[in-house]
């Protein structure tokens, strides 16, 4: 282990990589702090650049950028009551109420430090869980991979969304896109409509840029003249009284860090979900739940820790099984494939330095977060004033050139536009976009492993349930589908109990 760690340090200790880390930190902080630009969109726009980089700096770039963006999303939540990224939405009201009470400095301090602590907790879990799981994963066959992907699909719909039916539709659209092109069993071209470009499938990267970039531009164009009243805060005071507050809620931090990492390790559910769940759990255990939503600092500690710890843990299923933990790691998997690297347990054996470099860059990013984040808070007034009517056309141009750069093809720019319109239309009608990506990544994994299993066993379904690991994963998948029934059952049970004790 030590030799790999030193090897990874050696890989990271170059001026070029330090430069990548610095640039991506600033990029992530900016994207996170500007409402309407999400971490997923930032990752999609990074992809064309990673196309021209080695695998290692590409991964380091995405790690650093996303860690910074998830923290920076807290800044506009506290200052203008708009979450910078969806991961800060859970505690936006609390943050803004406290800012109105003159406690904005404390909120931002808590945001910053809990983000860093959560991120470090997530990194530790990633470092300890991923190699262990990789050992187990070496024994996995097509049956287990089928269930893992099915678990990811189920979690996307049942856990990661407030509107499961609409999330399900988005997921199905993604699955459909994944089926375009030559099929695995007979090499038969499906849904290509005679277009040569579709024979290799719907290209992932222009689709990503369209769904997360162009659709956001379209949405932001609707409110381009948005003027934000920014609450004034003094960055110099964010560390005042911070230690006492954090010490009071030390148990919360540990609990939410663990919740975040659990959600992260689960395929398909990302940092925004972790924040919402940590918020709900926090209220359940709080001594003053009546303050929640009206300016409580406690849920900010909880959810602020959870979303950053989730971000690192999301890489566990992505690196170990090639199953994305959320939409950002779905993009990471796309990048790895583009580099000719197939994520999975073999990467741990063949390129341990790469894996250790990912761990280390999480630690570096979360340590750097404190000074960089402090500067970002100082510059928040300026960042929030960047005129959208200049920013949006500029982002659109990056989308166009980025989509073109992958295959040097205008067809991809057209694909990007079509996906952008689709994403815009979906969001306007309450259909989440992230499940489309997960469907596109998980679709081939589900189908290939199912077909391979079936052909191996001559269409015998039993091994899906009789192999031990397969049975456990299958059980988890079915459990996920039963999850919405739990509150119903609990209510009924409690109702019966109450009636029983009534006189």
């Amino acid at each position: 282990m030590l030799e790999h760690l030193l090897g990874a340090l050696g890989l990271l200790a170059s001026w070029k990589l330090m430069g990548v880390i610095a640039i991506c930190s600033v990029y992530g902080l900016f994207v996170g702090a500007v409402p309407g630009l999400t971490a997923t969109m930032a990752a999609a726009l990074l992809v064309p650049f990673t196309f021209f980089m080695d695998p290692l700096p590409s991964l380091v770039a995405i790690v650093t950028m996303s860690a910074m963006a998830i923290f920076a999303g807290d800044i506009p939540a506290a200052l203008v009551r708009i979450p910078g990224t969806p991961s800060s939405a859970a505690y936006t009201d609390d943050s803004y109420e406290l800012t109105k009470q003159g406690k904005g400095e404390l909120v931002l301090g808590v945001d910053l430090v809990t983000s860093a602590i959560g991120g470090l907790m997530g990194a530790v879990i990633l470092m300890s869980a991923a190699p262990l799981l990789a050992e187990v994963a070496l024994k996995f066959t097509s049956f287990e991979y089928f269930w893992l992907a099915a678990l990811g699909l189920s979690a996307t719909v049942m856990i990661a969304s407030a509107a499961p039916i609409k999330a399900g539709l988005a997921l199905l659209v993604g699955l459909f896109f994944s089926m375009v092109g030559v099929d695995i069993t007979l090499g038969y071209p499906r849904f290509t409509f005679g277009v040569t470009e579709f024979l290799n499938g719907v290209d992932f990267i222009p689709a990503m840029i369209g769904l997360f970039g162009v659709s956001e531009v379209l949405r932001n164009m609707a409110s381009a003249s948005l003027r934000l009243p920014i609450a004034p805060v003094r960055a110099a005071r964010i560390f005042h009284g911070l230690a006492a507050t954090l010490w009071r809620y030390k148990v919360n931090m540990v609990r939410s860090g663990l919740i975040g990492t659990f959600i992260g390790v689960l395929p398909g559910a990302g940092a925004d979900v972790a924040a919402w769940i940590a918020y709900a759990v926090s209220r359940r255990f709080s001594k003053e739940p009546e303050l929640y939503g009206k300016g409580a600092i406690e849920p900010i500690v909880d959810a602020g820790t959870a979303n950053n710890s989730c971000l690192a843990a999301d890489w566990v299923p992505a690196l170990v099984f090639g199953i994305p933990g959320d939409s950002i790691t779905a993009i990471v998997i796309g990048v790895l494939f583009m580099k000719g690297l197939r994520p999975g347990p073999m990467v741990f054996e063949q390129q341990p330095e790469l894996i250790y470099a990912v761990y280390l860059s999480f630690i570096i990013a979360n340590v750097l977060m404190v000074p960089f984040g402090y500067l970002a808070i100082k510059a928040s007034g300026t960042m929030l004033k960047v005129p959208r009517n200049i920013l949006m056309p500029a982002i659109l141009m990056f989308c166009i050139v980025g989509s073109f750069a992958i295959n040097n093809s205008l067809f991809d720019v057209g694909l990007m536009l079509a996906m952008g319109i689709l994403g815009y239309f979906f969001e306007a009608n309450g259909i989440p976009v992230a499940p489309i990506v997960l469907g596109m990544v998980l679709g081939p994994i589900v189908e290939q492993n199912f077909m391979v299993s079936m052909i191996k066993t001559d269409w015998d379904l039993f091994p899906f349930f009789t192999r031990p690991a397969s049975a456990i994963l299958g059980g988890l998948t079915i459990l996920t589908w039963a999850l919405p029934l739990v509150p119903v059952a609990a209510r009924r049970w409690r109702g019966v109990g109450a009636r029983g004790t009534a006189p």
Binding site: L175, R190, A222, L417, F425, A428, M451
Partner: protein, 153 residues
């Protein structure tokens, strides 16, 4: 662009049906097992089923959204802005190979900024400077063969 859930659901029912219909002539594996058609059929069927659920829910909730709010649309600035984006990218697609990135990129950025009420001179300067920077970054540093068109650099 919000339309009623009933209509959205109906759209998905139609899309699901089309997907299933598209697989009807697919070849099958030996011994009659389904091959390329299996998963698209599952996806199409589920899509139609979920679409039906959304439609029924929308109908039950007496979804008050106008089926499509056409009459208000053309007056909504956001919608017109979105059309400008659409038109900008389409114009780019049609003309970039003839005119080149340096021209078309700047034109698209300029038109959008102008539409978003950036002062014309400022928009022009920002469009040209920013687009040239993008050109330098992608064409010179990353060596992407952006269309050159009438200005070669």
């Amino acid at each position: 662009m919000k339309i009623s859930d009933t209509l959205v659901g109906a759209g998905f029912v139609g899309a699901g049906a089309l997907i299933v219909a598209g697989t009807l002539h697919y070849p099958i594996l030996d011994a009659g097992h389904p091959g390329p058609s299996l998963f698209p059929r599952i996806v199409g069927t589920l899509m139609a089923a979920f679409g039906l659920l959304v439609a029924v829910q929308g109908f039950r909730a007496r979804d008050v959204t106008e089926a499509v709010a056409w009459r208000r649309l053309h007056r909504s600035a956001g919608f017109v802005n979105a059309l400008f984006v659409l038109g900008g990218v389409l114009a780019y697609l049609l003309l970039v190979e003839r005119l080149g990135f340096l021209v078309m990129g700047a034109v698209v950025i300029f038109v959008l900024m102008w539409r978003l009420e950036v002062r014309p001179l400022r928009a022009l300067v920002v469009a040209i400077v920013f687009n040239t920077l993008v050109h330098f970054l992608f064409a010179k540093i990353l060596r992407v063969p952006l269309p050159l068109g009438i200005l070669w650099w």
